[in-house]
């Protein structure tokens, strides 16, 4: 079994109000597609992260429904346009029900 998935996130520390900032996220996860077979020819059961979401101060910014065709260690880059300082909350939901989260603060001036 792989280690506990570890998120890595890149958010600028500061932004001007109304500026569009770019957010990059990556989480370590094998994203077992359910298509592969093991040595004995048995299908390895699917285990992927099926949902990713980003909120800012509780309001949705971006989310993604994920299918097995997304690569291992799923990477997402998207944008946000902010008018106030606050906290981004990132959530990943695993097929087995596990939820991985992380937070990042940004100062808007």
């Amino acid at each position: 079994m792989a280690a506990q998935p570890k998120p890595r996130i890149k958010v600028p520390k500061e932004a001007k109000a109304g500026e569009v900032v770019s957010i990059k996220t990556l989480i370590s996860h094998e994203m077992e597609s359910g298509q592969r077979k093991d040595k004995d020819g048995k299908v390895i059961p699917r285990k992927i992260i099926n949902k990713f979401a980003c909120e800012f101060n509780g309001t949705p910014v971006f989310s993604c429904d994920i299918d097995p065709a997304i690569s291992a260690n799923p990477y997402f880059e998207f944008s946000a346009k902010l008018t106030e300082s606050g906290t981004f909350k990132f959530t990943w939901i695993d097929d087995d029900g596990a939820i991985y989260t992380d937070e990042q603060k940004i100062t808007v001036n």
């Binding site: 569009v20 989310s63 993604c64 429904d65």
Partner: protein, 149 residues
């Protein structure tokens, strides 16, 4: 023995080539991909324009193919992108991902990395808040497939 074996090799190589050529036109997932797009578009025929899909022309490794979508939109009021689906017509399952945008997104731009089993079309379809749909399509040539087959 030697001649026999060489003969067999050339025969099987020929058969392999033939089956690849046959496969291309008769791949079962093209209708599945089209159905996925139709379901998403709510029966509308997607227009071209507005949406741009960026993908490499040749992907050496089908396990991680970077793709990007960009939809022209002010992302305010009536000019909003609701969601974008990514579909691959030659993978075991056509669905790749669905992006949901909001007013806080600022722009409808997203980048990710996907798996491609073989050379195929990658299609991005955007649904706007007013219900109109737009699509873009790119063929990606894959040297090594990414589905562990």
């Amino acid at each position: 023995m030697k001649i026999n074996r060489r003969h067999m090799l050339s025969l099987s190589a020929g058969a392999a080539l033939f089956s690849i050529a046959g496969h291309r036109s008769a791949w079962a997932d093209v209708p599945a991909a089209e159905k996925r797009i139709m379901d998403f578009a709510g029966g509308k025929t997607p227009a071209s324009g507005k949406i741009t899909l960026t993908a490499p022309e040749i992907a050496e490794n089908g396990n991680t193919v970077p793709i990007s979508v960009n939809v022209e939109s002010a992302m305010t009021g009536g000019d909003m992108v609701d969601s974008v689906i990514i579909v691959a017509d030659g993978n075991p399952n056509p669905e790749v991902a669905t992006f949901h945008f909001t007013a806080l997104s600022g722009t409808a731009v997203a980048t990710t990395r996907m798996r491609l089993a073989k050379t195929q079309n990658v299609i991005a379809v955007a649904k706007m808040a007013d219900g109109s749909v737009f699509m873009d399509k790119k063929e990606v040539k894959v040297t090594i497939g990414g589905c562990g087959g």
